[in-house]
Subunit: 121 residues, 2 copies
């Protein structure tokens, strides 16, 4: 495999922490990130950008204020800019995120679950 | 499933043509597209943007002028802006593309394999 080819599942197998996105690749000024999710995150919005979720394994619920969006493997959902949301997963989920560089996982709320973007080892 | 959740593999199961990207989702001014690839494409570059490939099934070769990049399931590769490339696949490949809206599949060369972005039925 070339040095500049990254495998999403291999990268995830090296991540143990939940809710900590790691950069898999960059395209222009956007990042493709991999992340493991389990438990409940925090309600937040991204005031300046949409946020795309692509689930690789497991079942992810993205709670919106008016409904729950349930995502399984290969499901894609875009949380529109400014829409409050709170992901949760009863069991571990592996997912890909796509968003502009500099997007913070906790959006406008910050707090203890804020994670700087990690680089893969 | 909510109307705004899209499954990448379900979408691909409804596509029969090769080399014709279909929009699965949009995030800001970028598109996530699904595409089936088989055979050899044309050498081209995208002068203004990187282009991200994420393979879902099959084996995709992205020929560069100095080497071949081989991608299997869950592999991600970014063709840098301005780098000449020509994808080929001996057997059918299902893949996701990420790129700015308006990116044309044949880049600067055009020709008979140029496909307008398709919308899913």
């Amino acid at each position: 495999m070339s040095d500049d080819v990254r495998n999403a599942l291999s990268a995830l197998s090296n991540i143990s922490e939940h809710w900590q996105p790691h950069r898999l690749a960059s395209i222009n000024d956007y990042d493709l990130k991999v992340v493991k999710l389990q438990g409940e995150f925090v309600w937040h919005t991204h005031p300046d950008t949409d946020e795309l979720f692509l689930v690789l394994s497991g079942e992810l619920t993205i709670q919106l204020r008016d409904r729950d969006v349930i995502l399984g493997p290969n499901d894609v959902f875009v949380v529109p800019k400014g829409v409050e949301h709170c992901p949760k997963a009863a069991a571990e989920v592996q997912a890909i995120l796509f968003e502009p560089q500099g997007t913070v996982n906790t959006g406008h709320v910050g707090g203890s679950m804020t994670s700087n973007l990690r680089e893969l080892g």
